[in-house]
Amino acid sequence: MSEAVSALNGKSSSGFATVSEAGLQGMITLRGDLKSAKLKKAVKAATGVDVPAQRRIAIKGDKGAGWMSPDELLILVPYADARATVEALTKALDGEHHLVADVSDARAMFRVKGAKADQVLMKLCPVDIATLADGELRRTRAAQVAAALWKSETDEFTLVSFRSVAGYVFGALELSARPGSEIC
């Protein structure tokens, strides 16, 4: 465990917004019937939040759940808890059709922070960032690759991509945040 390193090992850069790779993050794909009581209970027990509604993400402390598709959730937990959470969810959903997969290492997570952080994403994602609600999860693309993003704090967005393209995503974010390219 101690030898685990995230895709870019926490790389960060400062432009008119700060772009940083968020390091190791526990992420779990949960597929199943999102309306089932058993699943709702399992998600609540694992994360402390309710199953989110369509295109929503709920975060409480260092855990959360995001709606990815009509039968898929993204479960967020600390990296060290991922394996145990997979086991707990699997056990809780026993007897019900579902799939739980640890994808913590398949992904990379980024934070874009600053008063103009939205402008960085405006350049890469075909998303109306201005109307992105708090707690809204958008699956979209960042330039040429798949991404998901949400507003994680005031003036901060979190973006998730696949691990193999972490370098590409960081490069695109870093370029888009370079001073002088503010959208005024």
Partner: protein, 991 residues
């Protein structure tokens, strides 16, 4: 002489002089100048040579419609050809160079074409270059290449950066003149999310130049007040220097923001391409003035009347001391007034209309300026500069009734609404006979996804010509109350397409329609005589409107001349198609951020950095970057590959196999699902075991292969090829979502979750045992089984599978620990002679074993039976994808080419993809063929060339020698052999 006037110039700041050069000559302008106004102010009338005849050319217009004044701008890494000086803001240190001349702008050899102009009529190229054929390549092309073409290609890498931005608005208003501003103000007040864009650096459009007063005040004041009001609205965004380039389906608008063209090198991106989703688009794009077609209308000094007015009023630049205004409408009289107000001489206004009355002509007459009614220009005198005009009756044939000395001609043939955006996405036009213009047909707008109008055209873009009409149009279509203006009544124009109307051939071949492409009235008439009735065909035959200005000045005049030649009404002829972009946009803006390191996503495995630091020679595999081989200092790629193979076969090698596709399939119907997807049976695979499987598409063709692993009672892990992971995942979801939606199966693509390393070779077990923690003995982990545990302290799953033919383990760990495992294996393997190997060694080793490779042995036309893979096809199963197709007569034919091994008689390596010939020729006279090579390599293990190929009846012809013709007439003889070249009995891997 054109010159800078001592006073005036609403856009320039005389306290801020700017230095620039033109063809190396130092010149000065002011902040607020365009390059055009600065050049004209410095008496540089001659700016370039025309495309075909190399005629001297100067400014005609003052905006985006300018056809002539294109220059090469900047130097070195900031050089860009074909920059329109009228839309280039002047900046300190600008360096511009004229184009399309040789040896110099003043003296051009190519101008000889002009003398022989009658030998270069419309369609000249098509007629001449059809025959004789050889002449094109050897004679015409080399000559034309040297003389034609506009700008030079930049030689250096672009120093600037570019980007995209995504925009959203309820209403996008294109054009920041009084129509656009009024529309924005109204929509802003209604609370709409408004984006107002303007292609120039100023708000207000033409109104301030035309002396418009709104609410009793000069237009400039109204513009300033309105922009201020809009700036205070949180729901309104204003963007200058942003040109709406194209409108596409569902309100998708492309806009081109020129952020730093006027401040090069200041660190900002040069251009930004906006990709905007607009709820609705308002085009307030104004109108463009039309030239008049009289002989010599391209001589420098002949300009559009509106442009002359712009240069005088906006930039205090006089195009000449003595100007003649020639017109068919009242608006051009404003130019006469502006010139007179600036203290310049207007020699005469030549009006084609026989009776001219009204407020504007009266005001001109009141200044003592002659107005010649019913007159036209027979021809312009001068060559590099206007020296005078010959006046004739418009009704006649061009006989001179008076010669006038002048140094500038301001012409106006009426105005054409800018209907480009309206038309890009299907909006239709109607011909307005009274105004002699095509304008948007409100009944046939471009429509959105609900069939609703997607665009509203307002103001001059909708055919309104006076300030009153413009503001009333905005009020009626957008809302609000129109402000009062000082508009005076104007008499109707009289359409004039040729001046004089009875001009003969000598004059018509000097009447320019398309300046940039050198198309004249005579060319269009010739095209009509030669049978070109469609305006689209005429356009291509004559090249009318095909230059970089896309015929902004020439199209209407051209199709009017064509209509006349065909004796039909203008609407019957119609217009050519309006296509994006409105004006050319930079290649950099189109590329956006995609250049250099982020030109394209590069997928990297967790061990990528290690590979790079250890001599990796990379190859692309899809978007993945994989190591082809690890080169040592001084070692060739070929030698490195051979070394890696010999080492893996004799000691132990390591391959980064992380890119292998990994798909989890889970659920109570998962076994049934996989039995449908694979040709073999996966449902019976015991937990803990692995099985090789083939996937076909519904046409029976082999699509992918890989090892399937049973993880638990209801969970399987399917390995796919590296390039097939996403495709096969999509294929699974397609069947599950669209066909078998009621089956209880979920899938997940976990390809990137795991780093996977193959450890292969006689010493493989020793390396793993040294790491310790798991039983990897022959009994503890038999072939085609897997175990989970802690290997050297890392969470690992080990598969005992072999693609090399050696004793082999594939170890999967979480990707975050991939590098740790890789390094641990390198360290543990040191004493056993471990070396990493790349994809080429992997390919060769599998070929030595006769294993197929998707993409080599398969090409979308090959079925598993062709590859003798019947052992992997279940005969018991009722169905699987591809089964029915494989039973069709042609698929089941014994004559299909089948997989065999091939060994050249001389030990050489067969060329890849080469065909084996058979006796006789086919219906096309080509040699018959009987097979082809699918994989071919030099085997360092066997020290000779080995190959696999598909050969007709191949497996029944073992030992037979067949011919492979290669390059240079050589024929390579190869013997058909078993495809397994190495360790047929599998002794090496079963230890």
């Amino acid at each position: 002489m054109s010159t800078r006037l001592a006073r005036g110039g609403r856009l320039i700041d005389r306290t801020k002089p700017l230095n620039f050069t033109f063809n190396g000559r130092r010149m000065q302008g002011y902040r607020g100048d365009t390059l055009a106004s600065a050049l004209l102010g410095a008496d540089q009338m001659l700016l370039g040579r025309s495309f075909k005849y190399h005629r001297p050319r100067g400014l005609v217009a003052s905006g985006a419609e300018e056809p002539n004044a294109l220059v090469g701008l900047g130097e070195g890494s900031r050089f860009e050809p074909n920059q329109r000086v009228t839309t280039t803001e002047l900046f300190e240190g600008a360096s511009a160079a004229s184009q399309n001349h040789w040896p110099s702008l003043e003296f051009d050899v190519g101008a000889i074409n002009n003398t022989f102009g009658r030998f270069l009529p419309g369609g000249f190229y098509y007629k001449t270059f059809m025959f004789p054929r050889f002449a094109w390549k050897h004679l015409f092309e080399p000559v034309i290449r040297r003389s034609a073409g506009l700008g030079k290609v930049p030689q250096d890498r672009d120093a600037d950066r570019y980007e995209y931005a995504y925009g959203f608005a309820d209403l996008v208003i294109v054009g920041g003149g009084i129509a656009g501003l009024a529309a924005a103000l109204q929509a802003g007040k209604e609370g709409k999310r408004v984006l107002l864009i303007e292609q120039t650096a100023q708000w207000g459009g033409r109104a301030p130049v035309d002396g418009v007063e709104i609410d009793g005040k000069p237009a400039d004041e109204w513009v300033k007040k309105t922009v201020e009001a809009l700036g205070k609205m949180a729901n309104v965004t204003l963007r200058l220097r942003t040109m709406a380039s194209g409108l596409y389906d569902h309100g998708y608008l492309l806009a081109y923001e020129r952020i730093a063209d006027h401040t090069p090198g200041d660190g900002r991106p040069r251009h930004r391409l906006w990709r905007i989703r607009a709820g609705h688009v308002v085009t307030a794009t104004g109108a463009i003035e039309r030239p008049l077609s009289f002989a010599g209308n391209d001589i420098p000094g002949v300009m559009l009347a509106g442009a002359v007015r712009d240069y005088v009023v906006n930039w205090a630049v006089s195009p000449g001391d003595r100007t003649v205004v020639v017109t068919n409408n009242d608006d051009a009289y404003r130019t006469a007034l502006a010139l007179a107000d600036a203290g310049l001489i207007v020699v005469a206004v030549i009006d084609a209309r026989t009776s001219v009355k009204g407020a504007l002509p009266d005001a001109v007459r009141a200044k003592g300026i002659r107005v010649l009614e019913g007159r036209g220009i027979a021809k312009v005198k001068g060559s590099k500069r206007v020296t005078g005009v010959s006046v004739c009756t418009q009704a006649g044939e061009g006989g001179e009734i008076e010669a006038i000395t002048c140094d500038a001609v301001a012409m106006s043939g009426g105005w054409s609404p800018v209907v480009h955006l309206w038309s890009h996405c299907g909006g239709k036009l109607i011909w307005d006979d009274a105004r002699a213009m095509f304008r948007p047909d409100a009944a046939k707008p471009p429509t959105g996804d609900q069939g609703e109008a997607m665009v509203t055209a307002v103001g001059s873009a909708n055919g309104a010509l006076t300030a009153d009409e413009v503001l009333a149009d905005v009020a009626s279509q957008i809302g609000g109350k129109a402000a009062k203006t000082n508009t005076v009544a104007e008499a109707p124009l009289e359409p004039v397409w040729i001046m004089p109307q009875g001009a003969g051939p000598q004059l018509k071949m000097k009447m320019w329609l398309d300046y940039q492409n050198d198309v004249k009235v005579s060319d269009v008439q010739l095209a009509a005589r030669e049978g070109y009735h469609s305006v689209e065909h005429t356009k291509r035959y004559t090249t009318l409107g095909m230059a970089t200005d896309q015929g902004k000045l020439s199209n209407i005049n051209g199709l009017a001349v064509l209509s006349d030649a065909l004796s039909q009404a203008i609407p019957q002829t119609g217009t050519t198609t309006f296509r994006p972009p409105y004006t050319p946009i930079s290649m950099g803006a189109i590329a956006g951020e995609a250049r250099g390191d982020i030109f394209q996503p590069l997928r990297k495995t967790p061990m990528d950095e290690w590979h790079g630091a250890n001599g990796a020679y990379f190859e692309p595999v899809g978007l993945w970057r994989r190591t082809y081989c690890y080169q040592r200092p001084g070692e060739s790629v070929h030698d490195a590959v051979n070394r890696e193979i010999v080492n893996a076969r004799s000691k132990v090698g390591m391959l980064d196999a992380s890119t292998l596709g990994k798909l989890i399939v889970k659920g109570s119907d998962a076994g049934r699902f996989l039995d449908m997807l694979y040709t073999g049976v996966m449902s019976t695979l015991p937990v803990g075991k692995c099985r090789y499987g083939l996937m076909c598409n519904e046409n029976g063709f082999l699509s992918d292969d890989g090892v399937v692993v049973r993880l638990s009672e209801d969970t399987w892990l399917c390995h796919t090829t590296s390039g097939g992971a996403d495709r096969i995942h999509g294929w699974m979801e397609d069947w599950l979502q669209c066909e078998w939606w009621d089956w209880k199966v979920y899938t997940a693509n976990v390809t990137e979750e795991y780093a996977q390393i193959a450890v292969a070779g006689p010493n493989a077990r020793k390396v793993l045992e040294k790491l310790g923690g798991m039983d990897v003995s022959a009994e503890g982990l038999p072939a085609m089984e897997w175990r989970e545990g802690l290997l050297g302290g890392l969470r690992a799953r080990i598969y005992r599978i072999s693609f090399s033919g050696e004793l082999s383990y594939e170890i999967a760990v979480p990707a975050s620990e991939g590098l740790a495992l890789w390094k641990a294996l390198i360290a543990a393997g040191e004493e056993f002679g471990v070396m990493p190997y790349g994809t080429e060694a992997m390919h060769i080793m599998r070929a030595e074993k006769g294993f197929i490779m998707i993409g080599d042995e398969t090409d979308g036309t090959v079925i598993p039976q062709d590859l003798n893979l019947n052992w992997a096809i279940s005969k018991k199963k009722a169905d699987y994808l591809g089964k029915r197709a494989q039973e069709r007569s042609h698929m089941a034919s014994p004559d299909r080419w089948k997989l065999v091994g091939l060994e050249t008689l001389d030990g050489s390596v067969l060329p890849d993809g080469v065909y084996a010939v058979a006796d006789g020729v086919n219906a096309n006279g080509q040699r018959n063929v009987q097979g082809r090579v699918t994989s071919t390599y030099y085997s360092p293990t066997l020290k000779k060339g080995i190959a696999m190929g598909l050969v007709k009846h191949g497996p029944d012809r073992m030992g037979e020698v067949i011919d492979f013709p290669a390059d240079g007439g050589k024929v390579i003889k190869a013997r058909i052999v078993d495809q397994v070249f190495y360790d047929k009995e599998g002794a090496k891997q079963n230890v």
